[in-house]
Structures are given as C-alpha cells and as structure tokens.
C-alpha cells in the first residue's frame, strides 16, 4: 500500500520536526531562563538624571501621565519663597493664580510657623509637567521631583516616556524597590 507508506512517512517526518521544534523552544527557554529573575521589574525615574524636559506629561500612554511630582519633605527647606510654588520674580507671596507656577494648581501651600511653609502635592491634579521640579531644583533644594506612580502606571513592556527621555533617566528597577526618592527615604505610608 503505497498510500499508507506515504502517510506513515509523512507522520514520521512530522513527529521528527515536532521534536526538533520542541527542542529548539526548550533551548530558547533555557537560554532566556538564565536571564530571568523571580523579581518583577517596573519603570522608575532617577531624579538625579532627570532634566525636567516636560515630556513625562506628554508622552505617557496614560493621560494624565502616571508620572507625578512627589515631595521629599526630608530634603525640603520649607522656604517662604518657594521656587517650585511661585513663578520666578514673584513680588507678593500670595497664593493667587497670578503667582503659581503649577499650571493645574496642584501644590498646596500651608503655613507652619514663621517663616516656614509646607508644600503638598495634590496628586489628582498633578500632570507631571515638571515645572515645579525645575523651579525647585534651580532655586531650592530640589525636594520636588518626578516619580512614576505605580498605582497609575501600566508598566508597559517598553515605557513610552523612557523611549523619548532625553537624559535616559527612566530605567527598570526591581518591584521590591519601586521608588527612587530623594533624601534619606526608606519607605512611607502606603497609599
């Protein structure tokens, strides 16, 4: 039976190729497995590298961006004239719209005691434009800085902001250490 023979031969070849494919898959698996970690990786901004270009606000796949300004109170000087809060050259330190640097008024200024003020970021309003970060780094301690908020981030396979970041400030960090916060920061209240 020539037909049978042909079919058998075909089946034999198929099985052989299947094994070959299976083995090559296993090969790729093993080769890649040597680079695997049980750790999850997430994207984060290194504030030391960030140049406050403003692309975090425009290039994140989320809108508004998953990048928000956070305040490292530990590093803050609690200045009255805050370079992150006020527009440069402000004359009267009032909290009116003519004075804030933040386009969405996401920074709250609270009086503590003479002559110190506390600045709190209202995250719902922040769009990650880094205007305040630039102000704070230029005139102050740089306590305001950008971070990717992991409750908002989709953790894309390739971060759309990282691709366009001019200073390569965004890289993957282990999920167990998901933030790079300035100052002596070892954790905080979880939100």
């Amino acid at each position: 039976m020539a037909e049978d023979k042909i079919i058998k031969r075909r089946e034999f070849i198929h099985t052989g190729v299947r094994f070959a494919l299976g083995i090559s898959l296993a090969g790729i698996g093993v080769a890649a497995a040597r680079k695997t970690t049980a750790e999850k990786w997430v994207w984060q901004i290194d504030p030391a590298k960030c140049t406050q270009c403003g692309r975090c606000a425009t290039d994140c796949v989320k809108s508004p961006s998953a990048v928000k300004c956070i305040h490292a109170y530990e590093v803050c000087g609690y200045c009255d004239l805050c370079g992150g809060y006020f527009k440069p050259g402000v004359k009267k330190m009032e909290t009116g719209g003519e004075n804030h640097l933040c386009p969405t008024a996401a920074i709250q200024r609270k009086f503590i005691e003479e002559p110190y003020f506390e600045y709190v970021i209202i995250e719902e309003l922040c769009i990650g434009c880094a205007k305040c970060v630039k102000g704070c780094s230029s005139f102050g301690n740089g306590s305001l800085h950008l971070q990717i908020r992991h409750n908002l981030c989709d953790n894309c396979n390739e971060c759309a902001i990282a691709r366009v970041c001019p200073s390569d400030a965004i890289s993957r960090v282990p999920a167990s250490q998901p933030y790079i916060i300035k100052g002596d920061f070892h954790g905080g209240t979880k939100a």
Partner: protein, 607 residues
C-alpha cells in the same frame, strides 16, 4: 416576537448605535482638535497678563482678572479631560451594542448557501502566487538596496575636530608679562628640601600610553638649580615672582624695533605667560576650535613644533563658556626639563616631552567657572599642583608628572577662584599656598594635608600669594591686603585696605612688598609692618603682575609700557620702555633677554 419584527428592531438598534458612535467620535475629534490648537494650561493670555502685573504690581483689578482667567483655564483643561474619558467609555459601549446587534442580525440572516462548484484551479493559483512572491521578495530587497543608495552615512563623514563652535570667537590674545627676577639668593635656596628635591627619584618612569612610539625612559627630576636657571612657571621659581637672571635689558622700543631680537605673531589667543627650558620657549593658545602648545627656539624665534591637545578622554564636546578677558588658555604652563604640562579651560591637562611627543593627557572635569579657569600650574618634585577652585566641588590636586596619575586629590571648601598656587618651604615641608574666598590655605606638597588655613579673603580672588621669608601676602579687590605668618598657622601680621589688587599678584623682596592695582597704582609697603613706603600712579592699569629681576621691579601695564623701578625704599624709576601693543602676560627673563607676550605677538628683547 417573530423574525420580521426582530430584524426590524435590530436594524433600528444598529442604526441608532452607529449614529451614536459616530456622534461621540466626532465630539472626541473636535475636543482633540481644540486641545491641540490651544492647550488651556499653556495660555498665552495669562502669561501676558502676569507680565503686565509685574510692572503694575498694585493693580488689584488686573490681579483679579488673572485669577479668574487661571481658574477658567484649569476648568477647561479638566473638563476636557473628563470629556475624553467619558467619550471613550460611551464609544466603547456604543461599539459593543453595535457589534452585538450586527452579530445577531447576521446570525439570523445567515443561510446555508448551496456549495459552489469550484472553479479555482489550484495549480494556476499557485503559479500566480509564485509570480507575486517573486515580485514581493524582489520589491523588498530592491527597496532595501535603494535605501542604501539614498541614505547618507553621516557617521562616516565625522571628523573628531568637527564638533566645535564655529561661531566667531573674538580673537583676543592675552599676554602675561613676566617681570625680571633679580639674582637675589634667598635663604631658601640652601634649605634641606630645596636641595633634596634635586635628587632623581627612581620610581618615576614615564609611561608612554598615549604615544606608542615614545621609548620608556627613566625620568630624572629637575634640580632646584635648574628651576632657578629657567623661568619655567608662572611667576618663576616657586611662583614667588623673583628671577635670578642677569644682564636684563632695560631699554627697548617694540614699535620701532629697537633692541627687538625677533618678533613673531601668534596663531591663537591666550593669556598665559610663556615658559622657558634651556633653549626652548613654550607658549599655549586656544580658541573654540582647538587648543595648542607651541615650542620655539628662544634664540631665533623659529617654531620647533606645535601640537594640538585633542582626543582627550572626558574632554567636553563643546568647550565651556568663557569671557573674552580669560579665554580657554589662561593658565600658564609649567615645564620641568622632561615635559611641558599645559592646562586649558576645558579641564584638559596634557604633557608633551620637549620634542613635542605627547606623553599623557587627561581631563580633570570641566571646570564650572563663569569667567573661565585661569589658575596656573606649578611643578615640584615630580608633582604638578593644580588649584582647581570651581563653582561646585573645588579641589587641590597633585599629579604625577611621569604618568598623569593623581597622587592626591582633596576637596576644598573654597569658592571659585582665579589665583595660582605659590610654593614656600616652611618647617622642613614644602607648602602650597593658595588664596581664595574665604580661605588662604597651606597644603603639604607631599601629602596634600592641610597645614593651616586662614579665613581672611573674600570675593572673586585672582591675585596669587606673594612671599617674603615666611610671610605670605594676599590681596583682593573689595577685600583687603593681608600679611600672614606661615610659620604660625597663618596668623594675621598686618592688614590694610588702602590699595587692593584686582588681578596682579603681590611680590616681595628686601623687606618690601610691591602691589599693583588695576587702576594704575604701584605701591610699596614695608613687608613687616604694612607701612606705605611709596606709591606711584601710572596712566594705565595693571593686570600683569610685578616681577623682580636684578633688584628691580619690572611691571608692564595694560597699554604695554614696562615700568622698571628700583626695588628699594627710594622707588627710583629706571626706565619706561614701550612694547607698542597691549600686554597682559608677565615678562619672561633669561640671561640678557626678556620675552614679552603682547596681545598678538611674541617679542624677544635683548641689548
């Protein structure tokens, strides 16, 4: 419900949901277009109003207007964001309804059609496919090839010197005039260290990393005698401003050529003072395109070699911004008989041997300095000392002359400065004395350790310390002139704010201190008490420092007139010869000769 009504209903659902989707999509597009056209958060109106308020600060009306505008802008932004979000959801649900209805409708309407008779000829199909596959493959590869012809590989056309500013750099050339040093032997000449330094140090082996064809040689360290014979550093031997040469000319005229042995024009600007070793004279120049070290035969003025300081790892692509009165070649080089060492405003430090072979080079980090780095190098006992006071993270550095390695590198608390280090032997140690805001500091040359410091200076310090016996003299405009006791932890001996130097460094000899101001006063103080012995006012100011040679003060003013004055309590003016062009560098002395760097030329004077 019968089939008929069902279909009718479905049709209506489909129509309505489709219309709904289209409407929402349209609204979303309009929203997008609006946001693109004018983002409320980047409103120009508010910016303009704020500018107006800056001028008219008490206009409450305007203030109110801005606030309401600001509120409106933020409202518009957040409303629009909300609209997009809601629109997306509406579109999604509309799409789901539409898809479902369509699905059900097609399912209901679907009839099993009678099987068609197959007209396709599989062989024909395959034959046609093979042709199209040929076309596809050919097309893809042709496009790939075409791209190779059409795209220009700019990386290949890159030449390393290209990325430099081609903008017109003002071609100011700076010249530091070196005064003549008198052959006054100080006690220091006999001291232990000075004679110790003479001994060759065997560990110093020149590394030839940069130039593969340079043979490895054991470097012999120059002796103190050699340093005295050659004005090899900014302000001569130990940077103290005193020359030991004889038969120094006192009479010349640069424009008529009287007593000018030779004159050459310089290719690149620079404020550094030439340095001499043996028969060779070295000078550095720089503009935005390149930085060069040139070597001349000092007897004939013939150019022996000229080498670029390029391809230095860490060197910035764009040189840092400098002002025209500083430039990129302000630091004076230093030479020790083996090599000539040059530092540029880019932070590039490079060593050439005396024949122009590159021995080593490194970048010390681009100096953050708003005028440009100007502190000169000095070398002693196999070390190059660099006073690297920058706006952030100032350092004192000692570098091995043989291979360019750091011997020590210590941070400094001083602010940015423009002065150069002076060496002084005290209590058996060679000290590096530096003046900057706020501290005058003495570091041990061997270890870098801080021996003492004295917080007496302030402002933008440019004058380097002067020395007499163990007394240090520092001065700066808008600060004060201070004499400090080097043996006694830098204790203040006397101070005055009568005359203050802006750029020129003080020099002292015979118990007298000479100080030159940028507004043309040369003043002589008693070195021990600070008493004003004499003062003379000239028509042009001094940036070049006074030098002492053959017991006379040589100081060239900015117009190029050299004032030669007896270094004693009489202050007799010996001669005032003219160079005929502006001068900022110090005079360089050799036996029977003076070398002067004018704004654009180099002169050799000899009688």
């Amino acid at each position: 419900m019968n089939q008929e009504t069902k279909l009718k209903l479905l049709k209506q659902i489909i129509l309505i949901s489709a219309a709904f989707c289209i409407l929402v999509a349209f609204l979303l597009i309009v929203n997008f277009w609006q946001m693109k056209k004018s983002n409320p958060l980047e409103s120009q109106t508010i910016e303009a109003l704020v500018q107006r308020l800056a001028v008219d600060d008490n206009n409450e009306e305007l203030r109110k207007e801005i606030r309401s505008f600001d509120l409106l802008a933020r409202k518009a932004y957040f409303t629009s964001a909300w609209q997009v979000k809601t629109g997306a959801y509406l579109l999604f649900f509309g799409g789901v309804v539409l898809a479902l209805a369509l699905k059900i409708r097609t399912d209901i309407q679907r009839k099993i059609e009678p099987p068609e008779t197959i007209t396709d000829d599989p062989m024909m199909n395959k034959f046609v496919s093979h042709r199209w596959l040929l076309v596809t493959g050919g097309l893809v590869f042709t496009l790939a090839l075409l791209s190779a012809f059409l795209s220009n590989d700019y990386l290949k056309s890159y030449d390393p010197g290209q990325f430099v500013d081609t903008e017109t750099s003002s071609q100011t050339e700076t010249i530091e005039v070196i005064p003549i040093v008198e052959s006054v032997a100080t006690e220091k000449g006999d001291s232990a260290i000075l004679s110790n330094a003479v001994e060759p140090v065997p560990q110093a082996v020149a590394e030839t990393g940069g130039a593969p064809d340079t043979p490895k040689t054991v470097v012999k360290l120059a002796k103190a005698e050699d340093f005295k014979k050659n004005q090899s550093t900014f302000r001569g031997f130990l940077g103290q401003g005193i020359s030991f040469h004889k038969n120094i000319p006192t009479n010349w005229d640069g424009s008529s050529g009287t007593n000018v042995k030779w004159k050459i024009s310089l290719s690149k600007p620079g404020y550094n003072t030439p340095v001499i070793w043996g028969d060779k004279l070295f000078i550095a120049g720089a503009d935005k395109t390149s930085r060069v070290v040139s070597c001349y035969n000092r007897h004939t003025g013939k150019l022996l070699w000229e080498k670029e300081a390029d391809n230095i790892p860490g060197s910035p692509a764009t040189p840092p911004k400098t002002t025209d009165d500083t430039g990129l070649a302000a630091p004076t080089m230093t030479v020790d008989g083996n090599c000539v060492y040059a530092l540029f405003g880019t932070g590039d430090l490079i060593a050439f041997d005396l024949d122009g072979n590159r021995i080593w080079a490194k970048n010390l980090g681009v100096p953050a300095n708003h005028y440009g780095h100007s502190s000169s190098l000095i070398t002693w006992n196999g070390k190059i000392v660099v006073q690297y006071d920058t706006a952030k993270g100032g350092r004192m550095i000692a570098i091995n002359t043989a291979n360019g390695d750091f011997i020590w590198d210590i941070p400094r608390a001083n602010k940015v400065s423009w002065s150069s280090p002076t060496l002084l032997e005290s209590k058996g140690k060679m000290l590096i004395i530096t003046s900057a805001d706020p501290n005058v500091i003495a570091n041990d040359l061997e270890t870098g350790a801080e021996v003492w410091k004295s917080p007496v200076m302030s402002g933008e310090v440019a004058p380097s310390p002067g020395v007499f016996n163990n007394i240090i003299f520092v001065s700066n405009e808008y600060a004060k002139t201070v004499a400090l006791d080097a043996e006694n932890g830098g204790k203040v001996i006397w101070e005055t704010d009568e005359y203050l130097s802006e750029v020129a460094s003080p020099v002292a000899i015979n118990g007298l201190l000479f100080l030159a101001t940028s507004y043309g006063v040369l003043v002589c103080y008693d070195a021990m008490t600070g008493e004003n012995v004499w003062e003379k006012e000239f028509s042009s100011g001094f940036y070049s420092s006074p030098m002492i040679a053959e017991n006379k003060v040589y100081i060239i003013d900015m117009s190029g007139v050299m004032h030669i004055i007896k270094a004693d309590r009489t202050g007799t003016i010996v001669k005032e010869p003219e160079l005929g062009e502006a001068a900022f560098a110090l005079p360089v002395f050799a036996d029977g000769k003076i070398y002067l760097r004018g704004k654009s030329s180099l002169y050799c004077i000899g009688e």
